[in-house]
């Protein structure tokens, strides 16, 4: 189990989200960065669907109450163990009593912590994700705070074998981090000005030509009231050819809706299930990982992508993840 000594800005337990209940208006939730979440789990031989801890900008202080294996992926928030900086995107074996802390955000916005065996919390509507506004899921429906103890499940037999072996070989220090990491193309870099690819929205044709033009040719800044529900972007005003009242319809992860003030909102993990504002575009699923690592104040540009190309890219990403999973799982079998 792990003990939370300090909660951090917003530290929540998330998995891949609540599926099948949106027809009842239940918010999907789940991780903001599904790629980093999947990789964190793969690096500790968990299932991709196991819950991880999503850490936002100012990280928590966490003490490991047992020897365990963990991995950190996503944004770099200067993690260290007992004061010594540690590397991300690789498995780390840590001894009982060691303390994981975070420092200043170097790049990206959200770090994912996976512990071999996963975190034990009860499922609500088929998911372990925390939805703060309704107070459901995750750890008592809320963000982790000082004094919380989160139980960790049984890790895989291969992890157990590796941990035994490693702790015998090296006794110095409170942790051992693996020398190896993922291939370079599997580790994203997060920049303060980035671009994401956009598929045309269902109502893109309702926007005037000037708006379509500025949308793809200007940078938009993430405002400070961006959160897990959505990124509110500031930039040139977008407008419809003529005012139009729309009926509410489903929205999804990455839908970009434009309310009457002309400033786009990009809907994220805690988005509402339906919305009535026109959607100018939709962030390609493969680029949601980039999107969710954007910090308030940073800049975003939009590039157009066709639906076919977006689905093709999605398949490429799946293949890459599958490949990484197989090679890492082999490492665990043969000894990390």
């Amino acid at each position: 189990m792990i003990w939370i000594e300090k909660g951090g800005l917003q530290t929540t337990i998330q998995d891949l989200g609540r599926r099948g209940f949106q027809k009842y208006g239940v918010i999907a939730s789940g991780v903001m960065d599904p790629y980093a979440h999947r990789l964190a789990n793969i690096l500790v031989d968990n299932k991709e669907t196991d819950p991880t801890i999503e850490i936002t900008l100012m990280g928590p202080h966490i003490t490991f109450q047992n020897d365990c294996l963990f991995a950190l992926t996503g944004g770099d928030l200067s993690p260290s163990i007992d004061g010594l900086p540690i590397k991300m995107w690789r498995p780390i074996v840590v001894k009982k009593g060691s303390k994981l802390t975070f420092g200043k955000p170097v790049s990206g916005c959200r770090t994912y912590l996976a512990v071999a065996g996963g975190f034990i919390v009860s499922e609500v509507m088929g998911s372990k994700s925390t939805y703060l506004r309704a107070g459901i899921g995750g750890f008592e429906g809320r963000a982790l705070q000082k004094g919380d103890v989160v139980q960790v499940g049984e890790c895989s037999q291969y992890v157990k074998g590796n941990m035994k072996h490693l702790s015998k070989n090296e006794n110095k220090g409170s942790f051992i981090q693996m020398e190896w990491t993922l291939m370079a193309k599997a580790i994203p870099t997060y920049r303060p000005e980035t671009s994401v690819r956009i598929i045309d929205g269902r109502q893109a044709h309702l926007f005037n030509e000037k708006s379509k033009d500025v949308f793809f040719n200007h940078a938009f800044q993430a405002s400070s009231d961006s959160d897990r529900m959505g990124y509110r972007m500031k930039g040139p005003q977008l407008a419809l050819k003529e005012p139009k009242e729309l009926l509410s319809e489903a929205v999804s992860f990455g839908s970009i809706q434009v309310p009457p003030d002309g400033q786009p909102i990009i809907l994220m993990a805690d988005r509402q299930t339906t919305g009535g504002y026109p959607k100018i575009g939709q962030v390609a699923t493969v680029d949601l990982q980039k999107m969710s690592q954007l910090k308030p104040g940073e800049y975003l540009r939009f590039e157009r992508i066709s639906l076919e190309e977006a689905q093709h890219e999605l398949m490429k990403e799946r293949k890459l993840i599958e490949q990484l999973k197989q090679s890492i799982s082999l490492k665990f079998k043969e000894g990390i």
Binding site: Y24, A134, A310
Partner: protein, 228 residues
Amino acid sequence: MMDITFSPLGDEAIVIEVGYEITKEATNLVRSIMRQLEEAAIDTIVEVIPAFTTVTVFYEVTAQFKFKDIKNLLEKMLVEITESDTVAQRTIEIPVYYGGEYGPDLEFVALHNKLTVEQVIELHSNGTYEVNMIGFAPGFPFIGGMAESIATPRRSTPRLRIPERTVGIAGMQTGVYPIETPGGWQLIGRTPMDLFLPNEEIPSLLQAGDRIVFKPISKAEYDQWEGE
């Protein structure tokens, strides 16, 4: 096939659109499509979200199953779809304490429509209502059938916090906020009844198609109900 169109919502969903206005025909068609999709239980379909005139289907993209494939599948499946036969509708009574601290906009609604507060309550609690869709927030019902004489536009600046179980009006619609959320509806009262049931198999008290009766109650009745 009736006038049904298909269009993508991003790279993992497809929208089936049956019309552009809230009509009896459109809402019935949405319900038949939902029923047909649920009965068919297609394993590449991850989740389905119905709305006023649309059904959005989220699907699992694979190398062999992309947008055109889900579109073909749905087209074939819905080729003979017709409006659902009238199914037995449930009627659910929602007790409401109108006005006071729980209905801060009741007077505005009256003023806007040149009515008295009593007339607004009378009109609101005597409507023949039907849930058109559930969406926006867990268990939030968009309820149609409200008297036009009490229709009131949304507030120009939404409130940041609306207490759970508050009853509101937006244009021609009425609804109830099941959980505390921000929102722009005109608030006219509050019900002691829970609409979001996170521990039930079906977590929403109401469903599209339900008939609704709003029953005015006194503050004492409200407090007694909430106390239980």
